[in-house]
Symmetry: C2
Subunit: 164 residues, 2 copies
DNA sequence: TATTGTTATACTCTATAACTATA
DNA sequence: TATAGTTATAGAGTATAACAATA
């Protein structure tokens, strides 16, 4: 089987399984990405957060709203520019981030159960080279942009009508 | 970086790039999966096709409608059970399938440009073992089921109101 | 009564444009 | 005039229920 098909297939499977493990924490994969990014760069604006994660501003608002409502993220007015917020993790947010880390390690172990330690290292090395050559941002899941094709509406002829 | 994150990241990238290469043919990834499945088992019913590809019947109808409208797929009444259609590729459908194959090989070469021949074989071997251990169907992309978490509507407080 | 294909509908995510407050 | 954040809305994809024809 072609490596790129296997990558797409296992990658989608990995993303789904990770989302399943995250669900009991009440978090989605975008939530985890947001908490991780804020944890790595406290004070980030929504603008730059959205750019880093390739999440549209209009969607980011809703995601941050929810994380703020649940007390994991805090929006502070920037003293330099009153248009922007500085995003910070609360204590609960930091605990959530740690839980995400534990979840990720469990997920990793389960997904790579077929491989021993040195094989996992070999796999990571190969994947890292591909990621670099393809110009992928380290630590940033690209999400899934719009990609379908544009097609005209089809004229339907029914199975809900007698055929004989 | 953890292998499972790299897998999800590169997998999503691979899926997007493949969709981009398919777009000039006027096809989406599900279209390609459908043509491939019908090509491998001519006469398949929509029911079994949907099961194999994990596409819901209500969506499959629309996809097959469009492929039939474009003359790539033909629905023939089953002589044994008047409820079902037998799905077949037309000549144009077979040509489309060949074009998809060429596209997939180009995609594969581009995605794995960082690796030489023996490294690609090594990668495929590792990935195949993971796919088997994880119980993934050979040749079937799992798509992306519903996985977000359920959250109550948030009470918004606006940046569109004066803050001072 | 169960099944195949189909339609209708709801919810989520992606995407774009327009809007408010501020620079 | 441009920018950060927000709102509204349109377009896909996912999911469920209900329906007609047939088994």
């Amino acid at each position: 089987m072609s490596p790129s098909f296997l990558l797409a297939q296992i990658g989608a499977h990995a993303a789904m399984k990770f989302a399943e493990r995250l669900a009991p924490l009440g978090l989605s994969p975008p939530d985890a990405g947001i908490l991780r990014a804020i944890g790595a760069s406290a004070g980030l604006s929504q603008k730059r957060l959205g750019e880093r994660l390739s999440i549209l501003p209009s969607r980011l608002v809703v995601l941050v709203d929810e994380l703020e409502r649940r007390g994991l993220v805090e929006r502070r007015d920037s003293p330099e520019d009153r248009r922007v917020y500085e995003l910070h993790l609360t204590d609960a947010g930091r605990r959530a981030l740690e839980a995400i880390g534990r979840t990720a390690r469990q997920h990793d172990a389960a997904l790579c159960a077929a491989l021993d330690e040195s094989e996992r290292a070999e796999l990571s090395a190969l994947l890292t080279r591909i990621a670099e050559e393809q110009g992928l941002e380290p630590g940033v899941h690209p999400g899934f942009k719009r990609l379908g094709k544009t097609a005209q509406p089809a004229t339907r002829r029914g199975k809900t009508e007698p055929r004989a």
